[in-house]
């Protein structure tokens, strides 16, 4: 395909502003899918995405489009996620395209990720087309959003498109403008192959499928290709483009977005951000790749059944192909055996990784309590970075500790400002600045400990502002803190996997909340199981689980056998969902509940 007829663009926005719904309209205009097979947010193809109603993975799709000038164009769109935890997906999409549709919900206006993603797109010199969506809604306030585009984004509001992605209003005009305004790719078709791996996935029949954007040259079927970073050489068995399914072509040429399959045996040969070139005629230098991921929260993953470690290894490798933001290394625990220490971009990311490992690779796993990465200064002058409570040194050897802080930007309607300030104060925040964006909206910046933000800050912010406040953050650096290691004892024995590093001032409340949550999660197996929170041997919280079950002491005769049995069959214990720790069985949910523990 001629580069002049190609447009590569991504759709970016704050969460829920309608990116995937807009992608739906493009897909339907191009008849990529029969009407009877169509469903809303068709690019959200994972079960978890559909269940949660959010996009988790960026998805590329090639849209053929006949423009008013009579020419056939190929619009390669990438739908991106809106949630902060998946910002890495957005940044890679931005690095592989020339244009961006910046979608803004007409009822919500500019929000935190609208700004964050716009800056990212500007950094990469993308042509940005502002798109005001959901104009069909009664609460849409287009003039106000236009004002925000001018004022907050510094863009010309007259260039914004008014659409309803849901109803399809304004889509044709938008597509026309995309062809006109987004520059075509400008690669050198005659140069040696130079392609960027922006994603990949594992297909159980086909093996590794590598997603690439061709910058220079072309990739043809049967061509010998080479991965830049490790020199691995393969033969491209199949190349093609994304049309909801993989669709074979003879070649991918400069400017195009597509995939190749090359019988890649060693899964880890494929690295997102790597350059692919021709083995015989390699390019002179590699592409810039992507910025490195910076995980902010760490937790260990263990198989529920220690015998499943090898399956976990294989599952992690394959998941990593499709989740470039996942970083991990080996780890081990007295209670849980061998596993992995993993870094995540947030707690939602962590939850998604857990679910994907379970669903896609059929693993049963537990996660340990998540932690940020602390900086610990030792008496002997040494400095250590610690994100794993198991590695926390003896307190007598520690001189002082620091924890990571972030700068949080919150945009909110003025009426919620008071509650938000209280929340930030609760979370040990210091206000840096406060600006009125217009009569109604305020933007406040806070310095906050990252650990405080990870635990349900977002949920609380959303609930106190009835969904209207949005927030984004960047890492600032380390600040002094007072740290303690909180141990959790189940039936009198400390369970290392439940230990946490916490700010001293929160320890008491956190301990109580964890004990309470655990006591609700642990099945009432024995007569009495004490659950305790302790710091350095001193018990600071305690709950008791009692085995007593009333349902057993009820009448049970011939008339209700069937009903009772059916109930049991419905609640039958899944296999392997329990991890025996000490002599108590902890269900997976017990480990998860600790993740969500907060001081109420």
């Amino acid at each position: 395909m001629e580069q002049n007829d190609i447009r590569n663009f991504c759709i970016i926005a704050h969460i829920d502003h309608g990116k995937s719904t807009l992608a739906d309209r493009f897909i339907q205009r191009a008849h990529l899918v029969a009407d009877r097979d169509f469903h809303d947010q068709i690019l959200d193809s994972m079960d978890i995405e559909r269940e949660r109603g959010i996009t988790i993975k960026s998805q590329a799709v090639a849209i053929p489009h006949r423009a008013r000038d009579g020419r056939e164009y190929l619009l390669n769109l990438v739908d991106t996620p809106g949630h902060v935890d998946f910002a890495y997906e957005v940044s890679r999409a931005i690095s592989s395209t020339e244009g961006a549709l910046l979608v803004i919900d007409a009822t919500q206006g500019v929000e935190a990720q609208t700004l964050a993603n716009m800056y990212l797109a500007l950094e990469h010199n993308l042509e940005i087309i502002p798109v005001i969506n959901k104009i069909d809604m009664p609460s849409a306030d287009v003039p106000n959003v236009k004002k925000q585009i001018e004022h907050d984004l510094g863009m010309d509001p007259d260039g914004a498109f008014l659409i309803s992605a849901k109803l399809g209003t304004g889509i044709d005009e938008l597509m026309e403008a995309m062809v006109e305004r987004i520059p075509p790719p400008r690669g050198d078709a005659a140069a040696p192959l130079k392609a960027l791996i922006f994603d990949s996935h594992y297909d159980s029949y086909r093996g590794v499928v590598v997603h690439v954007r061709i910058f220079d040259g072309a990739m043809k079927r049967d061509q010998q290709i080479r991965f830049w970073s490790n020199g691995a050489v393969y033969q491209a068995e199949e190349v093609g483009i994304f049309r909801l399914r993989l669709s074979k072509t003879d070649a991918l040429s400069a400017g195009e977005v597509g995939y190749f399959i090359a019988g890649i045996k060693t899964v880890s040969d494929t690295r997102v951000g790597d350059t692919v070139t021709d083995h015989q005629r390699p390019c002179a230098e590699a592409l810039k790749g992507f910025r490195e991921v910076k995980p902010v929260v760490f937790s260990s993953i263990y198989p529920v059944d220690s015998n499943d470690y090898e399956e976990l290894v294989a599952g992690m490798e394959k998941l990593k192909l499709n989740d470039a933001s996942l970083v991990y290394e080996k780890d081990s625990s007295a209670a849980l055996g061998f596993g992995f220490r993993c870094g995540f971009l947030g707690l939602l990311h962590l939850e998604i990784v857990q679910e994907r490992l379970e669903r896609e690779y059929d693993l049963s796993i537990v996660f340990t309590a998540p932690s940020v990465r602390y900086r610990v200064f030792m008496q002997d002058g040494a400095e250590r970075l610690i994100d794993n409570p198991l590695e926390y040194p003896d307190t007598t050897l520690i001189e002082r500790a620091e924890e990571p802080y972030i700068k949080a930007g919150i945009i909110t309607p003025g009426e919620y400002l008071g509650s938000i300030m209280t929340l930030a104060l609760d979370k040990r925040g210091t206000q840096i600045s406060l600006t009125y964006l217009d009569e109604k909206r305020v933007e406040v910046f806070y310095e906050l400990p990252l650990a405080e933000v990870l635990f349900d800050f977002y949920d609380k912010l959303k609930s106190i502002s009835h969904g209207y406040a949005s927030f984004d953050y960047e890492l600032l650096g380390y600040r002094p803190t007072e740290l303690v290691k909180l141990d959790i004892l189940v039936n009198g024995k400390p369970v290392d996997a439940l230990s946490q590093l916490v700010f001293k001032g929160n320890a008491y409340a956190r301990a109580r909340s964890i004990c309470r949550k655990l006591s609700a999660e642990i099945p009432r197996h024995q007569f009495k199981i004490p659950i305790q929170g302790a710091i350095g041997g001193a018990i600071i919280a305690r709950e008791t689980i009692s085995a007593f079950r009333k349902d057993v002491t009820a009448k049970c005769y011939g008339g209700d056998i069937t009903r009772k049995r059916k109930l049991l069959e419905k609640q039958k214990a899944g296999k392997k969902r329990m991890k025996t720790v000490g002599n108590v069985e902890l269900p997976q949910t017990a480990f998860l509940s600790v993740l969500k523990a907060d001081e109420e």
Binding site: R524, A547, V552, T553, C556, G558, L568, K572
Partner: protein, 405 residues
């Protein structure tokens, strides 16, 4: 799978080793906690139609199974003592005329227990009366919405002491909101003073859909805490044990030899015929499987149809039977006989449950000797999680076989 049948299920002849339950679905009024199938304020005509249909049902079952003997009979409810004397006699005479059960219980409520009732029972061959006293505290009886009062309880017990030659069992309820441990023990003292051979002691359970459930939900009254329920459990057990009653099942206590044989058959999963609206049967099918039959609760339909066709039929799989065997049998102090498991399922429980049994054993939740498998006291109280685990391992087995009964 359960299904409604138009034609009656084909049963296998089963002349001996039978039990018969007859449900009398009438009550003076509905107690606030009750989710048993019964209707309040039925007229004589309705009762007559139901009793007639039940007698018909007994005949049909007796034919279909070629019943020659019946070991135990239980007439429950509802409130059998609410039946007019002539109807009750007609029902009991049908049974007593054909069989000589070793144990034959009829349930009664104090406010409707009459001389006439006692006499009819004595005349027809009933061996045991089970009286629902629940508590001797008028305030709590009112709270429960019972039709009777403490005075009714005393009068009924006096009457039985004077006229009833047979066995006596008393039903009591504990863990009623606002009831104290001392109060529960006072009730038990009052009951034991009447020297019944058998006591059933139930924790009040809040069943969804009952008025009491709604009341507790809405905060109208507080539920006893788990701690206090445990205390009641311990105290009442030790009181009854000290008074010579053995806790032979989770909620049932008996003097030696006075265990309820009929209920033991349920807990052992032996065959039983259930007659009456809402009653269930477990009987052998012609194809060699166990059938669970559940009778319609629709009185009109019950009275109009052939009693053997107003049923839903479930063919019990080997897995279902094994789970039921555990669910019922592990409630018993003496547990499940090894020979019964071996005979029915062809392998020892240790093997049938995969690793689960050994795991429970290691935890001290169960015990086993040469003759039986049983829960320990500790295990019995957390029976449900154990059974859920058993359900999990049973569902994972494909090669289970059963020969029942």
């Amino acid at each position: 799978m359960a299904m409604k049948t138009d034609s009656s299920p084909s049963l296998q002849p089963h002349p001996h080793d039978n039990a018969l339950y007859v449900h009398v679905p009438f009550c003076r009024r509905k107690c606030r906690y009750c989710d048993f199938f019964s209707i309040a304020d039925a007229d004589r005509e309705t009762m007559q139609a139901v009793v007639r249909a039940e007698i018909d049902g007994i005949d049909r079952f007796a034919d279909a199974l070629a019943v020659a003997s019946i070991d135990t009979v239980y007439i429950g409810g509802g409130t059998p003592s609410l039946l007019p004397g002539d109807l009750l006699e007609r029902l009991l005479a049908r049974i007593g005329g054909a069989w000589r059960p070793v144990e034959w219980t009829v349930e009664a409520n104090p406010e409707s227990l009459s001389r006439d009732f006692i006499d009819v029972c004595a005349r027809t061959g009933v061996t045991r009366i089970s009286l629902g006293v629940q508590t001797f505290d008028d305030r709590l009886l009112r709270f429960l919405g019972r039709a009777g009062t403490a005075a009714h309880n005393r009068r009924a017990l006096d009457l039985l002491a004077a006229r009833w030659p047979g066995e006596l069992s008393l039903d009591l309820i504990v863990c009623i909101p606002t009831q104290t441990v001392a109060g529960a023990l006072r009730d038990l003292e009052g009951a034991v003073a009447r020297a019944p051979g058998h006591v059933s002691l139930y924790d009040l359970t809040l069943e969804e859909g009952t008025p009491l459930f709604a009341a507790v939900r809405s905060g109208e009254c507080a539920q006893p805490t788990t701690e206090s329920e445990i205390e009641v459990w311990r105290e009442t057990r030790s009181f009854l044990t000290a008074s010579g009653y053995r806790p032979y099942e989770v909620s049932n206590f008996a003097r030696p030899g006075k265990e309820c044989l009929h209920n033991l058959r349920y807990w052992r999963l032996d065959p039983y015929i259930g007659v009456g609206p809402g009653a269930a049967s477990t009987v052998p099918g012609a194809d060699g499987t166990a059938l669970r039959l559940e009778t319609t609760q629709d009185l009109r339909q019950y009275c109009a149809a052939d009693p053997l066709s107003a049923l839903s039929v479930e063919r019990l799989s080997a897995g279902a039977l094994l789970l039921e065997q555990l669910m019922m049998g592990l409630r018993l102090e003496d547990g499940i006989e090894r020979s019964r498991i071996a005979r029915r399922f062809g392998a020892p429980l240790e093997e049938l449950l995969g690793g689960a049994w050994d795991h429970w054993l290691a935890k001290g939740w169960v015990r086993a000797d040469e003759s039986a498998y049983a829960c320990t006291d500790e295990g019995r109280l957390c029976l449900n999680p154990l059974l859920r685990e058993a359900a999990g391992s049973i569902s994972g087995r494909s090669n289970l076989k059963v020969v029942w009964p």
